[in-house]
């Protein structure tokens, strides 16, 4: 079982640190959702966890080992990352895209094998994209395309799956579709999912562990039901809101109080 944690992590791009001394332990076989206001450092945190950027201080530990000392392919066999809006060349079919997820398992002298074939089939099946396999990616709907990308990350066969806002640009039905898919991967296949989410209500619904980032540090972390309340929303998003119980799931539901509308309604 792969474990991932950050210790006193600091990341900067030359200016002040965007991630400023952050500690975080990712719980295996659970969904961790990272939330926070724009520019709070949550995407930077995800990139540092995936070894895409080098920290200016502190460390990221993958299975207890400093991630910087591991080889790129060794990391890529344990941890996959899907960036926010990945781009693919035109006319690339779903199957070809998913096959490219096998890269870390191949080498100059170790080419395509039955194991690769099987991993691709499983990834297609898990994301319900088997029927779309021969279709070019640019002909698919946004939701189908996102499922194909997740299939590519699944073909990589990593226990840890990191996603940067996987629901961006999707309509509501496709957002739920993608989140349900990720939920199933954790529940049925024992994967560990870490994702940055914009929507606090979706994060509350799907996350086992919610991590709120503010000013490059973890402001609060824990089960959504334990940490999300009116004050939490104010602290993290700088927004006045009421938090009620979600009538569908029982998780916290955030109702923002817009200044003008609420005054008018109240008067």
């Amino acid at each position: 079982m792969s474990s991932l944690e950050a210790r006193d992590l600091r990341v900067g791009y030359g200016g002040p640190d965007v991630v400023a001394g952050l500690d975080l332990v990712i719980r295996p076989e659970q969904i961790t959702a990272i939330v926070g206001a724009n520019g709070c450092g949550k995407s930077t945190l995800l990139r540092a966890l995936a070894r895409l950027i080098t920290p200016t201080g502190g460390s990221v530990l993958l299975d207890g080992q400093e991630i910087r000392t591991l080889s790129s392919k060794a990391v890529a066999k344990r941890l996959g990352l899907l960036p926010q809006s990945p781009t693919a060349p035109e006319n690339l079919t779903v199957e070809d895209l998913v096959a490219r997820g096998r890269y870390p398992h191949q080498g100059l002298f170790r080419q395509w094998s039955p194991t690769d074939e099987q991993a691709v089939e499983e990834a297609l099946a898990a994301t319900a994209t088997t029927d779309l396999r021969a279709r070019p990616l640019d002909e698919l709907s946004g939701g189908q395309r996102q499922r194909a990308w997740i299939a590519m990350a699944l073909a990589q066969q990593t226990e840890l799956l990191l996603l940067d806002e996987p629901t961006t640009y999707l309509d509501l039905a496709h957002q739920i579709d993608v989140l349900d898919l990720l939920d199933g991967l954790v529940a049925e296949r024992g994967r560990t999912v870490v994702m940055v989410l914009h929507d606090i209500n979706q994060a509350c619904r799907y996350a086992d562990q919610l991590v709120a980032v503010r000013d490059g540090r973890v402001h609060a972390a824990g089960a959504p039901g334990e940490i999300v309340d009116d004050r939490f929303i104010g602290d993290v998003f700088g927004l006045e809101a009421r938090v009620v119980e979600d009538p569908v799931t029982g998780t916290p539901l955030c109702l923002p109080i817009a200044q003008r509308r609420s005054t008018r309604c109240a008067s």
């Binding site: 070894r51 990352l81 899907l82 990945p86 006319n91 490219r100 890269y103």
Partner: protein, 317 residues
């Protein structure tokens, strides 16, 4: 198609040789004028054409893949400008006077400029990524073109020699030219064929490539090295030939799809075919004189490329 272009290149010219006679020049050489033309002039010319065309096609495919820029072509890293400047210096300062002799100088010039561009591009914080390299190449090219012009303005004799080289031609090359550039281009082709797998991953963007365990910087460096060998070898043998390196990978992409393991070999074949065909056309067009292949590729290629980009669906990278 390739076999046909080779045959045409051997047969057609200011003196036409029937196809049957071409074959007899190899099977039963009798020392006649026709046989001598085929064996001594057209064969080396065709060899150079094949090498240069293949190299330009592969070079374009590599650079378009590494930079994910549809406009990347052999001119961009300043390779052509470096080779040109070296040839001008060779004529002007060292009084070198034959086309085959320029090959070594052009190769050296291309190599020196490539190293300089890499050094320039590599000093930036993020390492030699596509954009930094292309910028460094453009700056270097502008500088060298200015220097080249400066020499030519003051030296009419050099200009006279140089203008035949600068248009790009594979005529008047003896067997030594092909032999000089063969190892360089062959090494470049080996890198090009080996790079297909990595270019496929790189096509998904730097972040995905990196999270799939690819050393993006190392891949770009290796691909750029292959590019320099190919583009440098090509310009050394034939002078700057525009357009082939830019257009061929696009056609290859239409025919072969988005997989670089196919785009590279298609580009190699198409590049060789296009260059030989253009050379044959150049021999016929202004008979009995000849038009340099570099001019023909642009004359024939430009309208074709306009058609290509106006197609309802141009394949994006």
């Amino acid at each position: 198609m390739l076999a046909f272009s080779v045959l045409a290149s051997l047969a057609i010219g200011s003196k036409s040789v029937p196809f049957a006679e071409v074959i007899r020049a190899f099977t039963a050489y009798d020392g006649s004028d026709a046989h001598a033309i085929v064996r001594d002039l057209r064969v080396p010319r065709t060899e150079v054409g094949l090498l240069v065309g293949a190299a330009l096609g592969a070079a374009g495919a590599l650079m378009q893949g590494a930079t994910r820029n549809a406009l990347a072509e052999p001119g961009i890293l300043g390779i052509n400008a470096g080779a040109s400047f070296a040839v001008v210096l060779a004529i002007s300062v060292l009084n070198v006077g034959s086309t085959p002799a320029y090959t070594g100088f052009a190769l050296a010039g291309a190599a020196i400029v490539a190293i300089a561009v890499f050094a320039l591009g590599a000093t930036t914080r993020k390492g030699p990524a596509g954009v930094t390299l292309a910028l460094a190449g453009s700056v270097m090219a502008a500088l060298l073109i200015a220097l080249t012009s400066a020499v030519l303005v003051f030296d009419a004799r050099t200009l006279d020699e140089f203008r035949f080289w600068i248009v790009g031609s594979i005529g008047g090359r003896d067997g030594s030219v092909a032999l000089t550039v063969l190892p360089v281009i062959a090494a470049g082709l080996v890198i090009a064929f080996a790079a297909g797998h990595s270019l496929n991953t790189l096509a998904l963007g730097d972040e995905v490539a990196r999270s799939l365990g690819q050393h993006v910087g190392r891949t770009r460096a290796a691909v750029s090295l292959g590019f320099v060998l190919l583009a440098g070898g090509a310009v050394a043998a034939a002078g700057p030939v525009a357009f082939v390196g830019l257009a061929v990978p696009h056609v290859a992409r239409i025919l072969a799809g988005p997989d670089y393991r196919w785009i590279v070999p298609y580009s190699v074949l198409l590049g060789a075919v296009l260059l030989l065909a253009a050379d044959v056309v150049g021999r016929v067009l202004v008979r009995p004189a000849e038009m340099g292949v570099g001019i023909v590729t642009v004359l024939v290629g430009a309208p074709f490329f306009v058609w290509l980009v106006r197609r309802p669906k141009l394949v994006a990278l």
